[in-house]
């Protein structure tokens, strides 16, 4: 505090030479504190307060009302559906992401840049479009509509459509995280393993996989959070059939539109809780294994 005063508005009275050299490159303490305060207020207003409101609203009528929101059959169906969708989408993207990252980082082939661009596509496409493409492909009047109709296969407005849309929007998470990491690690260790007689699969399992495990865990975590929280794309393909095709985020909206604010925020608090847990694990991973997660500051 005394430092702040000394270097405050009166600092110029001592002349430029008196000021420590550090003040040339850093801001004045007053400015610094002001910036920090602005950042904190901003954070509080836009992140902490809404989060607090979710839980406050959810508990507005006490714990019994809060818990009642989850004993409702439609809510349980939504929770179950969300878990099923994540349980399919996340492993799929895990396998695909590792395979794609491995191919891209460790091998040279034609069309590599195109593949990277394609993997990134879901990030740049609006979720509404991500949902609509499946309606256009699998809807009654869509590309495969007549075929699906003849064979009694329901894709959109049913679980498969929701899974497809979720896989699409969470497609890049794993691959995007692993590609720079694996590129950074290079191929020397694998080459050494292969020279020593290991099979390709063996080398992958004992050399590549251990090298990327924390990055992998980190990306799966983010992938899962998005898979469970996706609203836009899923909303388009869901059809909103209660107890059948409503995921948790959709259920929140339905309850809200039915003026059932306590139940709506109770279910929302579940999603917020998921986000908080994700954030906590993410922070631990970042703190413990920063080097293994982010490519760049690695051992080379």
């Amino acid at each position: 505090m005394s430092e702040a005063l000394a270097q405050g508005p009166f600092a110029s009275a001592h002349g430029e030479t008196v000021r420590p050299p550090a003040s040339v490159v850093t801001e004045r303490p007053l400015v610094r504190w002001l910036l920090i305060a602005v950042a904190l207020i901003f954070l509080g207003l836009f992140l902490v307060l809404p989060l607090f409101t979710v839980f406050a609203q959810a508990l507005a009528k006490g714990w019994t009302a809060y818990l009642a929101a989850f004993s409702e059959p439609d809510a349980q169906a939504a929770i179950r559906l969300t878990l099923i969708v994540a349980a399919i989408a996340v492993p799929f993207n895990l396998v695909f992401g590792v395979a794609a990252a491995w191919a891209i980082a460790k091998f040279e082939f034609r069309g590599k840049n195109l593949l990277v661009t394609l993997i990134d596509l879901p990030f740049s496409v609006s979720p509404v479009v991500s949902g609509l493409i499946y309606v256009l492909v699998f809807g009654s009047r869509g590309l495969f509509g007549p075929y699906l109709l003849d064979h009694d296969i329901q894709i959109i407005f049913a679980i498969p459509g929701i899974v497809l849309a979720t896989i699409f929007v969470t497609f890049p998470f794993v691959a995007r995280q692993l590609i720079p990491l694996m590129q950074e690690q290079g191929t020397t260790e694998e080459e050494a393993a292969l020279t020593l007689g290991a099979s390709g699969w063996h080398a992958f399992r004992t050399v590549t996989l251990p090298n990327i495990r924390w990055g992998l865990l980190y990306s799966v975590l983010l992938c899962n959070a998005r898979a469970m929280g996706e609203f836009g794309a899923v909303s388009v393909v869901s059809g909103h059939i209660r107890g059948l095709t409503n995921t948790l985020p959709l259920h929140v909206e339905i309850l809200y539109n039915e003026y059932n604010f306590v139940a709506s925020f109770a279910v929302a608090s579940l999603l917020a809780g998921l986000a908080l847990v994700t954030l906590a694990i993410k922070s631990v991973l970042e703190w413990r294994y920063a080097d293994d997660i982010a490519a760049g500051a690695r051992r080379h």
């Binding site: 169906a77 799929f92 059948l244």
Partner: protein, 349 residues
């Protein structure tokens, strides 16, 4: 719920899920139940959520007593136009209960899943109940809204859903048009201009009636919400009579929310018998009383409770077909691309 529905929807769903998700999914998607259970799906419009919760429970109970079969009626709600779209795109609805006839016509035309003569297949032109448009205003009616003409005043903000996607939005639009047409010497140009004046006062167009209600009641936007009569009463019940008033205009529209069997889906799913019984049930004394309880206008007034009927005042109602012709013409002239609504939105900008 996934607790065992050996109907085609469930079976196909789980088959695909298992294919996609390997063993993991198969383990999680709890399939197979011992007792047979039938499901039918009612795809409905936005404000009927509370209504069909009661109707579906009553129907299941009656069906169980009559046939011994356990039946679950599932429901999906959304803007009427958007719901018609999902039926066209393939949601396996057995029955549709939408907000306006032209939405069912759209399903007939674009997907052929409903037979073209649907309006004559059920009593009263396939209308088990009717409704109308009233005004919801803030307590004490600070802007003094009494009639449709008040909605054109420059200081009155009107909240109404998008007529492109919402049936309620279309009824509001047509009600305002009909009012001006009748009032101003049956002059179409003047009626068009009158409606344009109202839509200049609309700050936000939600996709469904419920969205507009939340905008008005929860978010506190606007001075007046022209809306379904039933929706206005629901707001009073949910938010408290001390916050809002209902203003009944001297004239309003005869709103027709029709119902129909989705023939193609019901036949495919083998649920025609149940779906037809469900639609017939809507005309039963029990269902009619439930309509009145939820502030819809039953067609059999005599079976409703007097206290429910007392809340549905006599208003001079006009039928839009009498002013504009067939539903085909009404839809085309007003709401299709390039129709009156599009012209007004363009001019308003």
């Amino acid at each position: 719920m996934f607790d065992g529905n050996p109907i085609k929807l469930g079976a196909a769903t789980h088959r695909r899920a298992a294919l996609l998700g390997l063993a993991l999914a198969a383990g999680l998607a709890v399939t197979g139940g011992a007792q047979a259970q039938t499901e039918i799906l009612n795809v409905s419009y936005d404000p009927t959520r509370e209504l069909y919760r009661d109707i579906n429970a009553a129907f299941s109970e009656e069906w169980k007593a009559k046939t011994g079969e356990t039946i679950t009626v599932r429901a999906a709600h959304g803007g009427s136009g958007a719901q018609a779209r999902t039926v066209i795109d393939g949601i396996p609805a057995d029955v549709v209960t939408l907000g306006i006839p032209s939405d069912i016509d759209a399903i007939v035309k674009l997907s052929k899943k409903i037979s073209p003569d649907w309006r004559s297949k059920l009593p009263n032109e396939a209308l088990p109940y009717t409704s109308t448009v009233v005004f919801l205003v803030r307590k004490g009616n600070p802007k003094g809204v009494k009639d449709w003409a008040d909605l054109t005043k420059p200081d009155v903000k009107v909240i109404t859903p998008n007529p492109k996607t919402s049936a309620g939005g279309r009824w509001n639009f047509l009600a305002a048009w009909g009012y001006a047409y009748e009032k101003d010497g049956k002059d179409k140009e003047k009626a068009n201009a009158f409606v344009g004046q109202i839509y200049k006062n609309v700050p936000v167009l939600d996709t469904g009636a419920r969205g507009s209600t939340v905008t008005f009641a929860q978010r506190g936007l606007g001075d007046v919400l022209p809306t379904w009569e039933n929706e206005a009463f629901l707001v009073l019940e949910e938010f408290g009579k001390d916050k809002f008033d209902i203003v009944v205009p001297p004239t309003s529209i005869y709103a027709e929310p029709p119902v129909a069997l989705v023939d193609a889906n019901a036949d495919k799913r083998g649920t025609r018998k149940q779906a037809e019984a469900y639609l017939q049930f809507l005309y039963s004394d029990k269902a009619q009383a439930i309509f009145a309880k939820h502030h819809y206008r039953p067609i059999k007034r005599e079976v409703a409770k007097p206290e429910d009927l007392a809340l549905l005042p006599e208003i001079k109602l006009f039928k839009i077909e009498d002013l504009q012709g067939s539903w085909d013409d009404i839809q085309k002239a007003n709401f299709d691309n390039g129709g009156l609504f599009d012209q007004l939105s363009k001019a308003g900008r």
